[in-house]
């Protein structure tokens, strides 16, 4: 290696023409061997992508050795993810067989893939176009293996091979890099360090960046621009995003606005009166028990309007035949549904001669439940109300069809029971992936015992649903808690699409 006066060179490379990042990396690596990408990034105060770009440049000039190591791991394919959520077609076929479904209720996939596997495994047999259970397995090993992969763990080898063969899982190669300077690199690094200290740069050098000065003086005309390695990996620009729940709430707000509904809001801390009594819930009802509802120590009691209470008391005593206790109604709770908001709003409209209205509420509600993958102690509820003396049951079905149609859902209605509506119905949504109807929302006409004391008339159409379930279906999320984990990676990469 030689060194010429006036310019510092290393091999055929003129250090002064190196990009500032390249020089930073060189100096950061002096005297270190096999330093990892992350450590190099920290030492050079560069981000990992810039380090990779510089490392490629330096390696091309034989100043640096890049050591690439690979490791393999199993990941789920799209099909695998779908099976993780909906289970394997053969498992679904077994279910169908247990429920005595006819063959034509199976999806194409279940017919083609599921029946074949389920028969081969000896779970079911088909006779006269009907499914019959032969033997029900205790567990299904490869589904357990699929779950393990979903959790980022490694299943046993045989299951892994079977899943790869079926196309439910695939091997993914993770690359990692480490760097060591070559001897030429070491000496160039020392030169570069001096250069950084002296702050000079060689005359007539290639130019790294186009600057304001070059443009204003016109010196860019003599400049030669250093070529970039444009194939080196780049860092993704950071971007902001609304939380998926907010995004979905905005969509629902828009639909309500389209349909002429006004928004109503309310307080999460409520009196038992608005949460229960005003909705015709007797004071001995199990829903009011401590294990379903959060009662409060502070504030212990919340006021409620005495004029509405008079009417509620009368209805309660007449129908439930007990002596209504005003201090029970005063107990403070965390509201268990958004219907308290509707109750208050109806009472307000009731004072204006049962003014007709269409309104909606979206808010957090609380249940005294242990949190797990499908139960939360707090979640969102959406509620819609049509208070109109000429409304009827068909209007309720029409409003529901329109609302869920705009959310892109295919729905059906079936009879159900709710304590404060009559007639009542349940809205089911067709789930394409699971090939079945899934419970979505409750609806009905508020009982006269509810609507008369509040709004002063009948009928009031009402429906409500939790917000988390449709969002989970949309995002293909299995664990309800993940909506509240606030993992930045998930938040950045999750988008509510139509």
């Amino acid at each position: 290696m030689t060194s010429t006066k006036g310019s510092k060179t290393a091999g055929s490379v003129d250090i002064s023409t190196l990009h500032q990042n390249d020089r930073s990396l060189l100096t950061a690596l002096i005297g270190k061997k096999g330093i990892s990408l992350q450590d190099a990034a920290r030492a050079a105060s560069l981000n990992p992508d810039s380090v990779m770009r510089s490392a490629f440049t330096l390696s091309a000039s034989n100043l640096l050795l890049i050591n690439e190591s690979k490791s393999e791991r199993l990941v789920l394919t799209d099909e695998g993810k779908r099976f993780l959520e909906n289970r394997f077609p053969e498992q679904r076929v077994l279910d169908a067989a247990e429920k005595h479904f006819a063959m034509d209720r199976l999806s194409e996939e279940e017919k083609k893939v599921g029946v074949a596997w389920a028969s081969r495994l000896g779970w079911v047999k088909v006779s006269d176009g009907k499914l019959q259970v032969k033997s029900k397995p205790q567990a299904y090993g490869i589904y357990d293996a699929l779950k393990l992969i979903g959790q980022g763990k490694a299943p046993d080898k045989a299951s892994a091979e079977q899943l790869v063969k079926r196309g439910s899982a695939a091997l993914k190669v993770d690359k990692s890099f480490s760097f060591t300077l070559t001897p030429a690199g070491e000496s160039a690094a020392k030169g570069a360090k001096e250069l950084i200290i002296s702050g000079t740069s060689g005359a007539g050098a290639e130019v790294n960046e186009l600057t304001h000065e070059m443009l204003s003086t016109g010196s860019w005309k003599e400049a030669r621009f250093r070529k970039y390695n444009t194939s080196a990996p780049v860092e993704t620009a950071s971007h902001g995003a609304a939380h998926p729940i907010s995004a979905y709430v905005s969509r629902i707000q828009q639909i309500f606005l389209n349909m002429g509904f006004e928004e109503a809001t309310g307080n999460e801390v409520e009196s038992s009166f608005w949460n229960f009594d005003a909705l015709f819930t007797p004071q001995d009802h199990p829903a009011r028990e401590l294990h379903d509802t959060f009662y409060l120590k502070q504030p212990g009691y919340v006021e409620y309007p005495k004029d509405v209470a008079e009417r509620v008391k009368e209805v309660q005593e007449k129908n439930w035949k007990y002596s209504w206790n005003p201090s029970v109604a005063e107990q403070a709770v965390l509201r268990t549904h958004t219907t308290c908001i509707s109750g208050r709003k109806l009472a307000e409209l009731g004072k204006k001669r049962s003014r007709p209205a269409k309104f909606f509420a979206i808010g957090r509600v609380y249940r005294n439940e242990a949190t797990d993958f499908k139960h939360l102690a707090e979640f969102y509820q959406v509620e819609g109300i049509v208070a109109w003396k000429r409304a009827n049951f068909r209007h309720l079905l029409g409003v529901l069809s329109s609302f869920y149609g705009q959310l892109g859902m295919k729905v059906r209605f079936r009879p159900h029971y709710f304590p404060y509506t009559e007639p009542s119905l349940e809205v089911d949504r067709w789930d394409e992936g699971r090939n079945q109807w899934i419970e979505l929302a409750g609806a009905g006409i508020l009982r006269p015992e509810v609507s008369m004391p509040l709004w002063g008339a009948y009928p009031v159409l009402a429906w409500g649903m939790s917000l988390e379930r449709p969002i989970m279906a949309k995002l293909k999320v299995n664990d309800m808690r993940s909506l509240y984990t606030n993992d930045l990676e998930w938040l950045r990469n999750t988008e509510i699409k139509d």
Partner: protein
């Protein structure tokens, strides 16, 4: 709880449907009646029965409902003969209501016993509020020595079911498994209810029967007692069991109650007639049913109904005989729903209400949406956290405000409502330590003060190699016009902020654009902006600096909290 899961034997169910039917048809009928089927096999059907139809908790009742729905059978008349047995009823304050009846000519096979026990258990559990509101005792009538009575005892002994020794009520509540399970019902009670005959105790409701009158496979005749706290619930239960046994071929005898304070009454009152206005039904459903059609639909639901002869207002009134087992009919709308169910929900033509209204969002919701948009375009990521938190988390964030406290928390995680958003944001930064820098997060979320007034806050945080006051103050500048707030150069005085590096926010009340601010026009501090104290960061194990601001958004009308009331709730 609005549903109970019931398992029905297929053969037994078909016996009460009146005909053997394909499984699909039975499943469909359950679902069209509003009872989702969990599982159906050749041998049994598992269905969720909603608690408005407790009559369908019995296999007899479920079969009857399906048979009528499918048109295999029609509305039924139930009869009860007057029994020679009478019951003398004392004043029993702990459990004031009692009724009893006799069912003769019952064949107690294994299946029937299983069905009877299942129905009894589910009735106790749901309708009976875990035996508090109603409880059922069933005895072998031929082992009973009438007359019978219902009385309150401080002390009496008998041999309870499944034991072989004489026990007093106190012994039973302390030692017998059923006694221990339901002992709480008698908290503070010193005189216990007993159903007696001339030889002693028949049952100690709602705990246990006597061994003496236990049912066996030779039992032909039953004595059924129902006790409780609500007359209507006790009566409905008696009717449900009596009609079920009647459907099984038993003959039912009504026991007359002789009240100690005078007067007599029958245990079973099968006759009940109500009126329905067809106009009201049609208006509510949006249909134009003729009386004959309405009567046909009511028959599918088990009602015998008749319309008045004639035209106009006369034919509008339909007289309905309500079957004694229906515990849920309290208003005309209950008939209306049954008409809708019989009509089939899928046969209704959806229609949109012709009610012109203008859609609108609350101003505070619009503000939230605006702020969210501005922050997202400033490369902030929105988070969404639990509003419930605990003392530990607040303490870590150096927050000592007192807020809403839960009386009956289930876990240590959720014991209070948050007063500030900052702990939620710091928790989020702590879990995202591996997600690279910088991080810019915000939350628009609900908080509550100690009086229970809830409001919406906005909190923004930045964490990076360097994150200073000026970085976060710049973000505040982006959104401040929507917040209608100004920063005052006074230290926020918060323990979780580095002293001397913060400001507090104020909002002018009633501010009008372009007008001068009144001298007293401020409403005090509504938030702060500054650098988070390293102690708080260390508590959350955050090892990069954090700059943040939190501010109150316009609030909605709050609930009026009361000072702890002197009146104590029961």
């Amino acid at each position: 709880m609005i549903m109970a899961t019931m398992t029905f034997d297929r053969k037994e169910l078909e016996q009460f449907i009146g005909k053997s039917r394909p499984l699909e048809e039975i499943v469909d009928s359950f679902e069209m009646l509003g009872m989702p089927v969990d599982k159906a096999t050749e041998d049994e059907i598992v269905a969720d029965i909603t608690t408005d139809r407790v009559d369908m908790f019995t296999v007899e009742g479920a079969g009857r409902a399906i048979g009528q729905f499918l048109g295999i059978s029609g509305p039924r008349k139930y009869k009860a003969e007057a029994s020679k047995v009478v019951m003398n009823v004392d004043n029993v304050p702990a459990r004031p209501i009692v009724l009893a009846f006799i069912a003769k000519g019952v064949k107690l096979d294994e299946k029937m016993i299983r069905s009877l026990i299942m129905a009894q258990e589910k009735l106790h559990e749901t309708f009976g509020r875990k035996r508090k509101k109603i409880a059922i005792g069933i005895h072998d009538l031929d082992k009973v020595s009438p007359p019978i009575s219902y009385r309150a005892f401080k002390y009496v002994t008998f041999v309870p079911l499944d034991t072989d020794k004489e026990m007093s009520p106190a012994d039973i509540l302390k030692e017998h498994p059923k006694g221990k399970e339901y002992a709480h019902i008698f908290d503070g009670v010193t005189e216990y209810p007993m159903v007696m005959d001339t030889k002693g105790v028949l049952s100690f409701p709602p705990i246990i029967n006597s061994e003496r009158t236990r049912l066996t496979d030779k039992t032909k005749n039953l004595l059924v007692d129902i006790t409780g706290t609500s007359e209507s619930a006790v009566r409905s239960t008696a009717h449900i069991l009596a009609t079920a046994l009647y459907d099984r071929g038993a003959s039912i005898e009504n026991i007359k109650l002789k009240m100690m304070q005078g007067g007599e009454q029958n245990s079973l009152i099968f006759e009940r007639k109500e009126k329905l206005s067809l106009k009201f039904a049609n208006k509510t459903l949006g249909l134009r049913l003729k009386p004959e059609r309405a009567i046909e639909l009511l028959a599918k639901m088990g009602y015998a109904a008749t319309a008045e002869e004639g035209k106009g207002a006369k034919s509008d009134t339909i007289t309905i005989e309500v079957p004694p087992y229906r515990a849920d009919i309290i208003h005309e709308v209950d008939f209306v729903e049954d008409i809708a169910v019989a009509y089939g929900y899928e046969n209704f033509k959806p229609d949109l209400p012709k009610l012109m209204t203008i859609g609108s969002l609350k101003p505070e919701t619009q503000t939230e949406n605006n702020i969210r948009g501005m922050l997202v375009s400033s490369q902030f990521n929105e988070i969404n956290s639990w509003t419930l938190t605990n003392e530990e988390t607040d303490r870590k964030a150096l927050i000592n405000d007192s807020g809403v406290e839960i009386k009956n928390p289930r876990t240590n995680d959720f014991t209070r409502f948050r007063t500030d958003l900052l702990p939620s944001l710091l928790s989020a930064l702590a879990i995202n330590k591996t997600r690279g820098l910088p991080q810019r997060l915000f939350e628009i979320g609900r908080v509550a003060d100690a009086k229970g007034n809830c409001s919406t806050h906005l909190c923004c945080v930045i964490t990076a190699e360097r994150a200073s006051f000026s970085d976060i103050a710049g973000v505040f500048d982006v959104v401040k016009s929507s917040l209608n707030a100004t920063a005052e150069p006074a230290d926020a005085g918060k323990e979780f902020l580095i002293p001397g590096r913060s400001v507090r926010f104020i909002r002018e009340s009633g501010k009008i654009e372009g007008k001068k601010r009144e001298a007293d026009g401020t409403v005090g501090s509504i938030g702060w902006c500054g650098e988070i104290h390293p102690q708080a960061l260390e508590n959350f194990k955050i090892d990069y600096p954090v700059a943040a601001f939190e501010i109150l958004l316009p609030t909605v009308v709050p609930a009026k909290a009361k000072r702890a009331s002197r009146r104590k709730a029961k």
